[in-house]
Symmetry: C2
Subunit: 531 residues, 2 copies
Amino acid sequence: MRRWNGWGDEATSMELPAHGAAFLQELIGEGRRLADASLASVLAQVPASRLPAHALISTDAETRVRHARGQSLPDWLAMREGNFAVFPDGVAFPETAAQIRELLAWAVDQEVIVIPYGGGTSVAGHINPQAGAQAVLTLSLERMNRLLDLDEESRLATFGPGANGPQVESQLRAHGYTLGHFPQSWELSTIGGWVASRSSGQQSLRYGRIEQLFAGGKLETFSGTLSLPTFPASAAGPDLRELVLGSEGRFGVISEVKVRISQLAEDERFYAVFLPSWAQALQAIRELAQARVPLSMARLSNAIETRTQLALAGHPGQIALLEKYLALRGAGEGKCMLTFGVTGNRLQNAASLKQAKRLLKGHGGVFTGTLLGKKWAEGRFRFPYLREALWQAGYVVDTLETATDWSNVDSLLNKVETSLRDGLREEGERVHVFTHLSHVYGEGSSIYTTYVFRPAADYAGTLARWSQLKHAASQVIAGNRGTISHQHGVGRDHAAYLPLEKGEQGMAVLRQLAGHFDPHGRLNPGVLLQD
Amino acid sequence: MRRWNGWGDEATSMELPAHGAAFLQELIGEGRRLADASLASVLAQVPASRLPAHALISTDAETRVRHARGQSLPDWLAMREGNFAVFPDGVAFPETAAQIRELLAWAVDQEVIVIPYGGGTSVAGHINPQAGAQAVLTLSLERMNRLLDLDEESRLATFGPGANGPQVESQLRAHGYTLGHFPQSWELSTIGGWVASRSSGQQSLRYGRIEQLFAGGKLETFSGTLSLPTFPASAAGPDLRELVLGSEGRFGVISEVKVRISQLAEDERFYAVFLPSWAQALQAIRELAQARVPLSMARLSNAIETRTQLALAGHPGQIALLEKYLALRGAGEGKCMLTFGVTGNRLQNAASLKQAKRLLKGHGGVFTGTLLGKKWAEGRFRFPYLREALWQAGYVVDTLETATDWSNVDSLLNKVETSLRDGLREEGERVHVFTHLSHVYGEGSSIYTTYVFRPAADYAGTLARWSQLKHAASQVIAGNRGTISHQHGVGRDHAAYLPLEKGEQGMAVLRQLAGHFDPHGRLNPGVLLQD
């Protein structure tokens, strides 16, 4: 059963090794454990629903609890404390596009706010109901999860919007195909959610971001259905797919998603290489991207992340041996781990690997074979479980991310890390901060920063610590040529920073579009656009 | 000097070989030559300008003639007949974004229509002034043609919007870079025009379409400047670059273009392969695209185009020898020529070539080495000059294009060809029709069809023939899952078919955007959107 107050399935958990806790303790002090609320205590808080009865809508208390929050840190704290504040008045489970349209029409009649809901994995506050005079209906698409059509010749698959990662891949795999879209939230997040929030998968270097994979589909809006036909490319005016991508439930409800799929690759391997320094590593990964070496993924940890990963990896004896080996070959203190993958046919992969090796060796790269690469691949969806493990050990972890042009990557990365590392200095608290680049492009890179801090004495104080850190880093990003999100979307948490990026004219256009599709502001108000 | 009534420079021309004319004569009958008007006779028709004097605006008659028409077939016929109908009242040549904004403000004061003008190469009626009560100002960007900034680390170059292909490439080449965008119109078309009309270059397989190359920039609109910052990727809501791409001068005037550039490749080669049949060739090129073989271009001529190209190539003795060689190896009657290129470093190119050869040989491909590939590369911008050569020989040539998913490519291609081949049957006229696929994707392909027919006894009759053919083919495209344009844009000529593709909701959104940026319909009315 899915956790009601955290990530993933209750049966799955991650252990923090003892020396991992010691590592953190040395860095930021001993952890502090805040008390968790029980589900029963939360259920007791759920008020009566304000919605009239409707056959497609459940007003059951537990269903409402389970659809009230996403996976942002404020959501996490609210769930652990049992302090939800607001619940949706009901959750609808439509099974067809016609039922979505019926529910939208009903919402107009009943003057109800509607929140489209995919996998509930937002880390930016996309699906949280707000307090207000109007009742809130959460519209879960989980029953619309099937592969509806497969055009093998065109490599196009049509899905219901609620298919989550495993449902997408298993239905395609049965025919020999893959979408190749693997965000870290893959186990729970949905294809419709990926489109609505412009998601990026770990192997986007080969398969593309969701923008490249999304070929067309349907958006149900208050002013009618927007149908997007599929073309391999078109010069027929502005591309309207781009208004659905990133629409975050503000313009309409995605009722059908057509995606570009690939044949399952005959060969796939992941490698780990250690570079002697950040400067060399940064140049190496930029050159890999700009030379168009056909890799399927590349991820570069900075020195602190490399050290942290090795410390938290378990098997300290083996790690010590590895570090000795690396140091002998020139990658000692300050070394940075680069993980990369090749995916395709054997001939192509062999050529790509040869090219990558040649380039990386020129920058002092030390290869360790496929063992660490395999470990990365096996654990690729496990990171979100770490929050639970750290919480049990008395620590809070969150991540934030941006993307910027290469000429600004190092500078912005340092500014973001500094803003977090120094963010709680006034309270005398230390913050452990580390970063990797996980999506590289010819023009620049994403920057993905993790920060670990201790809870305050209570939940309110802990949330205040987070708010201070998040705001400091977000200001740095928005003020220094970073996008406010490379892969998580805007939601509520980033909405205040969006105008800095889109500008006055850009915001005016987005408001125009929202006004057109949803003239009464009934769809997910406050998300993406604050007003 | 640029031709005032046709394509390119007066000093450049193409000869139609004698046996080429004989080939056409056998297929569609003897050519007919219509009389050309003189520039003097056209200059005499230019009416007085209705514009008040302005320092940035020329009202000189020849300047107005030279900015009155693009390069569509109706434009061609109008220019050859000397029947322009409408001229712009003046042409402005701003040198800065501030001057563009000044001219827009002036246009509001003076109640003047404004037509943004890049290279004047539109083949879909993008820049033609229309008769009306309001004066028309054509706004040429030709003086804003410089490389303004180069961020080598991020591989980003900033250009004025009026830089044409040679200006873009020569300024980048001086620093060791290329944009890699080579549409057939490259000699004259501009970077701003490419963005405004969603252009695609011949090597888009490597470098991407202009959508992938356009990183940001500025659009001057009647409601203010829309500034698009550069990010390698972003999940921060809808991507507003996509509203500038394909805006066709309806939403604003592009005043600055930032593009993603590449290092000049160390190695580039083009090859020609002949496949025994269209069925085999079609499957082979689809597999090349779907297997992601890292080619830089791939172009497949159907059997009629292959035959036509060999017939028009010159050197009939050599061609006969080539055909004998091909036939002995299994590519005889019905053979199809596939041209492809590899661009990059030598290691990468060798691997790509090996992979492509293996795949193509599996489909009966017969390699002819690099000679024909070289010929393609040398003549790649020469095709537009062929219209002049055919006109001199008494024939009219035009092309049209679309794109569709692979499962529909063969069917749509046949329907388009049939609609043209049979299009003048009632008049007893034959039309010579042939096709190639020039831009291939995992999902589908562009379809580029050329048609040659004889002029009627006069210009009006010739235009009527063209209109009948164009309308028949456009209806077939719009009614059979094709986009109305893969690379030429909408303009006026395709605007009537756009609603079939965008749908009611899509058209409503586009009208909303036009209304927002240009509330009084002062920018290029009738282009993209008919109303």
